[in-house]
Structure formats: structure tokens, C-alpha cells
């Protein structure tokens, strides 16, 4: 792809709301992690899910950002996504005080990922339908059950009329949103895109992963550390960003993806080093760079050994074993459809000087100019993105 300009960033995360707070927290990863995972998450009922350990976006008051009107029928995912989108648009100087800046507003769209959508909205309606009567479900909440509803609400709230695209590729979705953005910018279906995604922690999601036996609880270090959040990069064609006179924070330079089926048709959940290798290789080729150009990898490791070891092997196959590979999900949790978005936000923080941590291999680089962000799905798909300093 032709390198695209990243001109803004909005983050709602368990370690901070706003890109500055997020980057600041990454400066001390250990403290950030301890805070993010401390105590019982409020979205998980302590009686039903005692001892739950997850990284929640705490003290999240959407009204502080959006005002109190019109939020009633939004679920948690929608509210996190709208706040992240709003922060991103303001950061990029596209909007100020809720209004587009300048007379010729750019055509803004959104390419947004989520893996499980508004699971809590679906559950809320199912509870009524199953325990009371399907006729009593709240029609104002019904649209939330549709996976793309949250992104639809972002466009309505922010008045974004260029294409609105939701991508659901499990953990890879937010990186695949980069492909959607690149495609639609290339065809001039919009001038600016919000690129990223969101995922909300909810009781059914937590219970499902716990039932699978892959959630780290108590003092376990092994297992998935569930999290949540939303993040959007503001992405536009470089020449137009420069013409607009806004600072270009970094370049989105390459994208790659690959799928590998399992060796046995009886297997469903799996990962393969080969798909990691191919996806990363393709992203480097797409960016026109070689493995030696990569300063750091923001990897997808989240505590599930079956997945993480394949990723390590695949990364080593392309990049060798000296490059700094860090696993920030150990700090802010596994947020599935949002994870690639938080990964890209992390890469931007590294380019701006935050330490590459927590390292899983290699040694900390001096200056970070080129970062590979990876995402590994549960079913054999892998995506990778290259972010570079300007």
C-alpha cells in the first residue's frame, strides 16, 4: 500500500482514556497492569463471578465526553466506541467542540472492528425473551444486537457520511480494518477514516472464556487476561493531510494477512507459525521494507500458550530472535476485536518514546521508528500492520 498518514488517535482503555493518558501509563507498564487488573471488575457481578480478574475501563463516564443526552439506549461497547471516535477526531483537528473545523469538511468514514459485538445487549434481550415473553423485548435496544450497530451509532453521533464498515475477524479485525481503510481511500470513497475497533467486557463473554478454561484468575500468570476498550486512528491520504497542515503522527505503511487451516479437520481452534510468518512477510513487502528495518514488534501474545508459541515461532522465522518483541496485552488485557487497535495505539506510543514493554524476547531498542503490530485469530487467521515514524 501507499503509506497513509495517521493524524490522530483516540483511546478508551483500561490503563487510560485519551491517547496521552494511555501513552503515559505505558511508561510504567508494571504499575499500569497492576492498576488495570486490581479488584473485581464492576461489569462482572461479584456474586455470580467471584474472583474475576479482568482489565476493565474504570471510571468511564461517557457523559463527561458526550453530554448526558441521547445515551440511554447505547450499550457499553457503543459508548466506548463513540468516545474513542470523538477523541480521535478532535485530536486530528477535524472536529472541535463537536463541530467540523473549517468550511469544507472532509468526508469522514469509519472502518471498525469488533469480535463479539454487543453481547450484553443480546443477552439483555434474550433474558427478557426467554424468561418473560419475546413480545416484551425493548425495541429501542433491538438494533444494538446487530453487530454493526455500534459503528452505525458512531457515524450518527459524529455525522460521518463516508462509508461505515464493520469488520469481524476475531482478534484480527482491527488490523483488517486497515485494509478496508486503504481500499476505500484508494477508491476515494472517503477522505478520512477512523480505523480501529472496540470490544466490551461482559458477563457472558467472561463466563464463556472461563468455561473454556483459558482465563487467568487469581494470581495465575498463565491464561488469557481479558480486557476491553476502543481505539481509533485517524487515517488519511498523506498528501491531503499535509495540505490540511496537520501534524502527521506516523505512517501506516503496510498490511499483510494469511490463513492456515489446521492439520486435522477435527480441530477448530488453532494457530500456525506459518500463517504468522506469511502475514508478517506480506506486511513488510507491502511496506517495501526488510526484516532488518523493524525496531519492535507489538505482538498478540495474551497468555494462551497454544496461540502464543506459534506466534513466537512465526515471528522468529521472519525477523530472527534479536528484535524486540513486546506483549502489551499483559498490561491492558486481551480485547479481541479491539486488540489490534490498542496494539496500533501502543506502537504509536513507542514511536513517540514510550518504552517497548513488557518484552517477551529480544532487547529494548534505542529509538523506535518502525513497528510491526500482529494479531492472531483463534481459527488460523493472522494479520499484521507496519507503522513507521514520519
Amino acid at each position: 500500500m501507499k503509506a497513509l498518514a495517521v493524524t490522530g488517535l483516540g483511546v478508551v482503555s483500561p490503563i487510560g482514556i485519551g491517547h496521552a493518558a494511555f501513552a503515559e501509563a505505558l511508561r510504567d507498564a508494571e504499575t499500569a497492569r497492576d492498576r488495570a487488573f486490581a479488584g473485581q471488575p464492576t461489569v462482572l457481578d461479584a456474586e455470580k463471578v467471584p474472583g474475576a480478574r479482568a482489565a476493565e475501563v474504570r471510571d468511564f463516564e461517557p457523559a463527561d465526553y458526550l453530554g448526558s443526552k441521547g445515551l440511554r439506549n447505547f450499550d457499553r461497547l457503543t459508548k466506548m466506541m463513540i468516545v474513542a471516535a470523538k477523541l480521535a477526531l478532535e485530536d486530528a483537528g477535524i472536529k472541535k467542540d463537536g463541530q467540523f473545523v473549517g468550511s469544507a469538511a472532509p468526508k469522514v468514514g469509519i472502518c471498525s472492528s469488533t469480535a463479539y459485538g454487543s453481547l450484553d445487549a443480546i443477552t439483555e434481550l434474550n433474558l427478557v425473551a426467554e424468561l418473560e415473553d419475546p413480545r416484551y423485548i425493548n425495541p429501542a435496544r433491538f438494533p444494538n444486537t446487530v453487530i454493526n450497530a455500534a459503528a452505525g451509532y458512531v457515524s450518527i453521533w459524529e455525522d460521518l457520511r463516508a462509508p461505515n464498515v464493520t469488520v469481524v475477524d476475531g482478534n484480527c479485525g482491527a488490523l483488517d480494518a486497515v485494509l478496508a481503510c486503504d481500499t476505500h481511500l484508494l477508491h476515494r470513497r472517503g477522505d478520512v477514516f477512523l480505523v480501529g475497533g472496540g470490544e466490551a467486557l461482559s458477563e457472558p463473554l467472561y463466563l464463556a472464556f472461563r468455561k473454556l478454561g483459558i482465563v487467568a484468575e487469581g494470581d495465575d500468570t498463565l491464561g488469557s487476561h481479558l480486557g476491553e476498550g476502543a481505539a481509533y486512528l485517524v487515517v488519511e491520504r498523506r498528501e491531503e493531510a499535509e495540505a490540511r497542515g496537520v501534524p502527521v503522527r506516523a505512517l501506516l505503511a503496510g498490511y499483510g494477512t494469511a490463513f492456515e487451516p489446521p492439520l486435522s479437520p477435527a480441530v477448530l481452534v488453532h494457530a500456525s507459525a506459518d500463517s504468522v510468518r506469511r502475514a508478517v512477510r506480506a506486511a513488510l513487502d507491502d511496506a517495501g521494507i526488510s526484516p532488518g528495518d523493524v525496531d519492535a514488534v507489538c505482538c498478540a501474545a495474551g497468555g494462551i500458550d497454544l496461540i502464543d508459541r506459534e506466534e513466537s515461532a512465526g515471528l522468529a522465522a521472519v525477523l530472527g530472535t534479536d528484535v524486540a518483541v513486546a506483549a502489551p496485552k499483559l498490561v491492558y488485557g486481551e480485547s479481541f476485536g479491539a486488540s489490534g487497535a490498542l496494539g496500533m495505539a501502543t506502537a504509536l506510543a513507542w514511536i513517540d518514546g514510550a518504552p517497548v514493554a513488557p518484552l517477551v524476547s529480544g532487547s529494548a531498542p534505542g529509538q523506535v521508528r518502525t513497528v510491526v503490530v500482529t494479531a492472531v485469530g483463534f481459527y488460523g487467521n493472522v494479520s499484521a500492520v507496519v507503522l513507521r515514524a514520519v
Binding site: A115, Y116, G117, I122, L125, N126, L127, E130, L131, P134, R135, I137, N138, F142, P143, T145, V146, I147, N148, A149, G152, Y153, S155, I156, D159, L160, R161, A162, P163, N164, V165, T166, V167, V168, D169, G170, D176, L179, T183, H184, L186, H187, R188, R189, P204, L207, A208, K211, L212, T257, A258, F259, P261, L268, V269, R278, F378, Y379, G380, N381
Partner: protein, 411 residues
Amino acid sequence: MARVYVTGMGVVSPVGIGRAAFWEALTQGTSGVAEVTLFDTKGMDRNLACEVKGFRPRDFLTAAEARHVGRCSAMSLAAAREAVSHAGLRPEQLAGERTAVILGTTMGEANILGELESAWIHAGTDAVPTAKITRYGTTLLPIHVARAFGTRGMVQTLPAACAAGNYAIGFAADQIRAGRADVAITGASEIIEKLEFAGFLRLGAMTPDVVRPFDRDRRGLLLGEGSGILILESEEHVVRRGATPLCEVGGYGLACDAHHITRPHPEGEGSAHAMRQAIESSRITADQVDFINAHGTGTQANDPIEARVIKDIFGGRRVPVSSNKSVLGHCMGAASAIEAVACVETILSGIYPPTMNLEQQDPECDVEVVANEARRGDARVVLNNALAFGGYDAVLALAKLGVLPADTGAA
């Protein structure tokens, strides 16, 4: 920029499984409406839908596949197998890194989620079957298809609600044009699920009897389900393997109303923009469009706005318009994919399928509807129109071979 062709199609629909049965029923106007059998509708005061009847996954899937998939993926696989066979692609021409699988849906494997939630709500976590948890995931639709054909390229799911088919097909064509794939298995799938049924009922959008697109007495939609899959190939790939394409994929248009989560924009602003983009990016003019396969849900809100947009764009020329939803119901995410299959059949046969149940056309829907009987006509360029929850608008252009100028869809 290289041309992209449709070389194969497969369909699982409420009026027939397989292309031949589907097209026969659609052109005859044979209704797919019947009483709901998938779940109990007791007390819901509606009991009609357009279910896919007699679909037995094991007729199309291996035993291992059947164990892993929900109904939505099962239909996707069945339609994909028909499409691949129709395209005459040999396994080695399809397997590998140069084939993409890009599918749309609204809710994907919704029945698996429904079963998981029902077990949990009534009997607690202990009652939830662990193996079933990993079988829920909207991302699984293209994964199951990729596994079946040994493809190793991109797998993408675009949940664009009722515009998902056009989203997926258009995006797949983009990827081939960009050189990221030679072949794409694309389209969309959807199943009818109890919560969706109850939801549309509560929105007051469901008719008690039949779907009457563009009629003065239209009373709403009926839910449908199924899968429509197209095989798209680059010109180079088609030439290399000596295949004969069915038609060419033109441009497409996308827009967002940013107006209301379920209702279309009152002036159809986004929809008109998307339709103009589809025409312009095909490098044609509006007067080259011969037929429009309408969204035509039969709801109060949709039909007049759609008619208004068509009138705005085509001016005094009364381009023939028809809605398949009077026959198929609203197959939601799958709708525009199944309707894309119908568009290709129209291009191949020169037959416009009828809009059934039209007795008194609403003056607010003043377009040239192909009413109650199929009609023959030119079909050089056909538009497939879709609107969706989220304020989504998506229009896809499909064209007879040799009609579009060479740089169709170019950036």
C-alpha cells in the same frame, strides 16, 4: 485496471436450494412464505417467515464439517460448493494464498449463540456445552469456507447488516483489482433466529401475511434466510485457465446516512450517493442501466425513499425495478448476495423477475415496477440496491460481458 468477472454462483434460498430451483421459483413468483418451524412462535401473533426448507447439511458437508458448523456456515458451505463447481475451478486452482474468502452477514452463527444463551439463562454455566462456545463467532463463516477449499489467503467477514452481500462482493472485487487475490469466494449468509424475529416484530416492521413491495397496502417485511455465493476472478486468471465468465463486476458505491439506526434518511441522501458512485465508478452513465434489483422490503419506510432515489437519478426514464423480497422475504445479510445471484441470472437470461403481490401501486412509489409477472428486457448493466441498519447504503453494478469500458472500478 484489470477487469473482475463472476465465474460461478451458488445459492441456498427460501424458494430452492441450488441455482436452477431458485431462479425458476423467482421468475415464476413462487412464494417462499410458510409457517415458522425453526422455533416456537406461540404468543408472538406472527408466525410467517421464508425459511429455507429441506436443507440437510450432510448433503453438502463432510461429517467433520457438520460437527463444527452452525446453520449459517452450513448454508455458506453448501452455496460455496455449488459456486465453485459452477465456476469449474479445480481444487488446485483454488487452494493456496491467492484465493480470498470475503463474506457478509448480519448475525452469523446466531443460532449457536441463541442455544448457548438459552442453556445459560435456564440452567446456568454448568449447562453450557463447552465445545459449542468455540463454534460461535461471526468470523467463522469465511474460516469454514477457507478450510473446505484449502485457501490460504485473506479471510474477512463484513457484517454490514442487510447490505452485507453488496459490501462483501464489492470489497472482494476491490481486492482482486488491487492484486491482493486472483480469485475470491464471496457473498453473504444469514439464518432466521428467534431473537431477530421477535425484534422485527417489536419494531412493528413485520407483515401479518404477504410482502407487498411498492404497494399502497404494504404492511411490512417477512424474514428470510439463506446464502448467496459468487466466485470472482481476475481477468488474467480467467484467461489463464480458459474459463468463460458469466458477467463482469462493475463498480459499487457505499455511503452512510448518519441519520438513524434503523430508518433510512428521509430524502435517501446516502442511498442516492451510493447509487451515483456505483454508476460513476463503472464508467458508465445512468442511461446505460437497464434494470434495478431493488431493496424493496415492503416496509412503510423503505419503499417510497428507494423509489424517490431512483427517480432522482434516472429522471424521466422509467428504468424497470423489481424486488425479490415478495418471494424470498428479507434474507437480511444474505439478501443482497442472493439478489446479486438473481442479477447475474437476469444478465444471462434477459428476464426480470417479478415483484409479486402488487395490486395498487403506491403513488409515493412511482417507479416502473415489474409487477406480478416476469418480463423480458435488456440487461446490459444491472444495479443491485441495498440499505441497512446503521444507515448503510450499498449499490453494486453488474454488467454483461463487453459492455463496460476497460478501466471499470479504477481508483
